[in-house]
């Protein structure tokens, strides 16, 4: 099982709201193989984002275990092991597209010529080669999300987590972004966990799972 990029075993997560205890996850198991794409669908509030936060190590489960490869999640490994794409892009407004992509590399070490060349190449592959010097405010929603995808892939991560990456995009642009994620994932051998509402997008993944009542099926 050490070959798996992500291994989740018996994950539970409960939120307390006043006197109420809301069990969001009730024993989630998932194994993601290298280069595999897994789509997770579910209703709003079903715990999809919570699950992704647990996978990313940004949040801790009440019980259960997660492993990135053979080791548990660690903040120090996150930059190199994980790439993340969010619904709201989260680009840094003061940095142009190229520098936003390079920001991922900066988390590991100050970027050199090799990193810059890779960042330009990634921007070219997401169709923004000519717009690398543009600030996020000068880009459309779809372009911003493509910059975020390039950033997520900058450090050649083993696992890409995408949390409703098409949520703020129109249908056409959303389709293009999902296609981009799947294509780049295949090309780079990066495993993808895609959280989405969209059944058509989920259908393009190797596996499509549904989170319901705190259990992944």
């Amino acid at each position: 099982m050490n070959d798996a990029v992500l291994t989740a075993t018996g994950l539970t997560k409960t939120y307390v709201s006043g006197d109420r205890r809301i069990a969001v996850l009730r024993g989630v198991d998932l194994v993601v193989a290298p280069g595999e794409s897994v789509a997770i669908r579910g209703e709003s509030g079903s715990g999809k984002s919570t699950l992704l936060n647990l996978f990313s190590g940004l949040d801790a489960p009440d019980s259960g275990a997660i492993q990135w490869g053979a080791e548990p999640p660690a903040a120090a490994r996150r930059a190199a092991y994980l790439g993340m794409v969010f619904q709201s892009f989260y680009l840094i407004p003061e940095l142009d597209a190229l520098q936003n992509v390079l920001m991922a590399a900066r988390m590991i070490r100050p970027p050199g010529g090799g990193e810059r060349a890779r960042a330009r190449d990634l921007l070219a592959r997401v169709g923004l080669g000519e717009r690398s010097g543009h600030l996020p405010a000068q880009l459309s929603g779809g372009e911003r999300q493509r910059v975020a995808v390039a950033r997520a892939l900058m450090n050649s991560p083993r696992l890409l987590l995408a949390d409703e990456p098409t949520g703020n995009l129109d249908e056409h642009t959303g389709d293009a972004v999902v296609e981009l994620l799947l294509t780049l994932g295949r090309e780079t051998g990066t495993a993808l966990v895609l959280v989405t509402h969209n059944a058509a997008h989920a259908a393009k993944a190797n596996r499509s799972l549904f989170l319901h009542d705190g259990v992944l099926r």
Partner: protein
């Protein structure tokens, strides 16, 4: 460059975008504080520097004084002049006198100088504005500018000098008539204390007015270049006879210099509050930045940033604001110092108070002398205080949990 420093610089000085308003305000606050500190410490330093220059130029670096009168003037002069490090020595007599000119009185300090040797210690000629030191003889005096103004006397005027000997003689039922003198000139040293109430006369005149015979009150000593006043006084004290001691000028003027230094220190700490207030501005603008950039802080966590690095990003911003503000403040301060005379004249002229300024100000020109130690203290304090102001925002940013930060609206 580590990412937190790179991002701090980019957030403060973004390329292709307008200079952030809050950054500009914070930087300006620090700059104003530093500028005021530089101006005040330099001007206060200027007072000390000018006082040293004037005292040394009029009295020499060391004074030799006895417990009483010095009678063997020739012997003492020979001893002092033969001491290593001494460039020159001249005897003096000093004490208060009363002056009357056309029914206008003045009570200045009279200083009797040995015209033949005073040039080896003090270059008094450069302070004489009307008349000449060469015209000074036993029947003439040279008045300070303020004393001349007070008496309404000009070069060639006749004045009467009453010495304290008058009172001594009156006690013995004798009448001691005042002596008539011609005003040979007037001088301006540039220090209000000296210009306000000082009269130069010959040593013999002063000895006569005080009834000292051939005795003097002391010697003014000029040291060779490179010999400081402490070393010079120490060497002299090793060779001087009992009952006679050498005092460095800093000891004679110790109280005045202490007050001057105290004023400077108090001013520094009071004005440091401008920097402290500016630091609160730095803190509040960075706190606003933490709130505005909550989701970006969450993103940094998602990208793999440690809490320590997130905190360092905000500390670095405070440090950069402090450093840039200090640099701008130094520029502002030194520019203001370069144009200080014009600024003071402009203010005095606008308020029609040129005469008041001259009357009450210590110097006729605003002095400035920047000590490197003052400059270093100002720069270090400004940067340290500004950087400390970044600690609270840095702590707030580091405490944010990425998951919650990313979810925030």
């Amino acid at each position: 460059m580590p990412w937190f420093l790179y991002l701090a610089l980019k957030q403060l000085f973004p390329t292709g975008r307008k200079f952030p308003f809050f950054t500009a305000i914070s930087m300006l606050g620090v700059a104003l504080g530093v500028a005021v500190l530089v101006i005040v410490t330099s001007v206060m330093g200027g007072f000390g520097y000018e006082i040293r220059r004037m005292i040394v130029q009029t009295e020499g670096e060391v004074q030799v004084k006895g417990r009483g009168l010095i009678e063997d003037v020739g012997g003492l002069l020979a001893t002092v002049r033969g001491t290593p490090g001494v460039a020159g020595a001249t005897p003096y007599v000093e004490g208060p006198v009363g002056i009357l000119a056309a029914n206008r009185p003045a009570f200045p300090l009279m200083k009797g100088i040995d015209v033949s040797s005073v040039g080896t210690v003090a270059n008094l000629s450069r302070f004489v504005r009307r008349g000449s030191l060469d015209d000074l003889d036993d029947d003439s005096v040279i008045l300070s500018w303020e004393t001349a103004q007070q008496l309404g006397a000009s070069v060639g005027s006749r004045i009467a000098i009453y010495s304290p000997l008058l009172f001594e003689k009156l006690n013995q039922d004798e009448v001691f008539l005042p002596r008539q003198f011609r005003v040979a000139g007037w001088f301006e040293i540039g220090h209000q204390h000296l210009d306000n109430s000082l009269v130069f006369c010959t040593l013999r005149t002063a000895q006569d007015l005080y009834g000292l015979g051939q005795s003097v009150h002391g010697l003014n000593v000029r040291l060779q270049p490179g010999v400081d006043e402490i070393t010079g006084a120490t060497r002299l004290n090793q060779v001087l006879p009992n009952g006679v001691a050498a005092l460095p000028w800093t000891q004679k003027w110790e109280s005045f210099l202490w007050v001057l230094n105290l004023e400077k220190t108090i001013n520094f700490f009071l004005l440091l509050f401008i920097v402290i207030i500016a630091a609160f501005s730095v803190m509040s603008s960075l706190l606003i930045s933490v709130v505005r950039k909550t989701r970006e802080i969450g993103l940094l966590g998602a990208l793999g940033a440690s809490r320590r690095d997130v905190a360092l990003c905000f500390c670095a911003q405070a440090f950069i604001i402090g450093t840039a503000g200090t640099a701008v403040g130094l520029g502002l301060g030194f520019t203001a110092l370069a144009f200080r005379k014009e600024i003071v004249r402009g203010i005095a002229s606008a308020l029609q108070r040129q005469d008041t300024l001259r009357q009450f100000y210590q110097f006729t020109e605003l002095p400035s002398h920047t000590l490197m130690s003052d400059l270093i203290l100002t720069v270090v304090m400004a940067i340290v205080i500004s950087t400390l102001a970044g600690l609270l925002p840095a702590w707030r940013a580091a405490r944010l949990k990425p998951v919650e930060a990313l979810r925030s609206e």
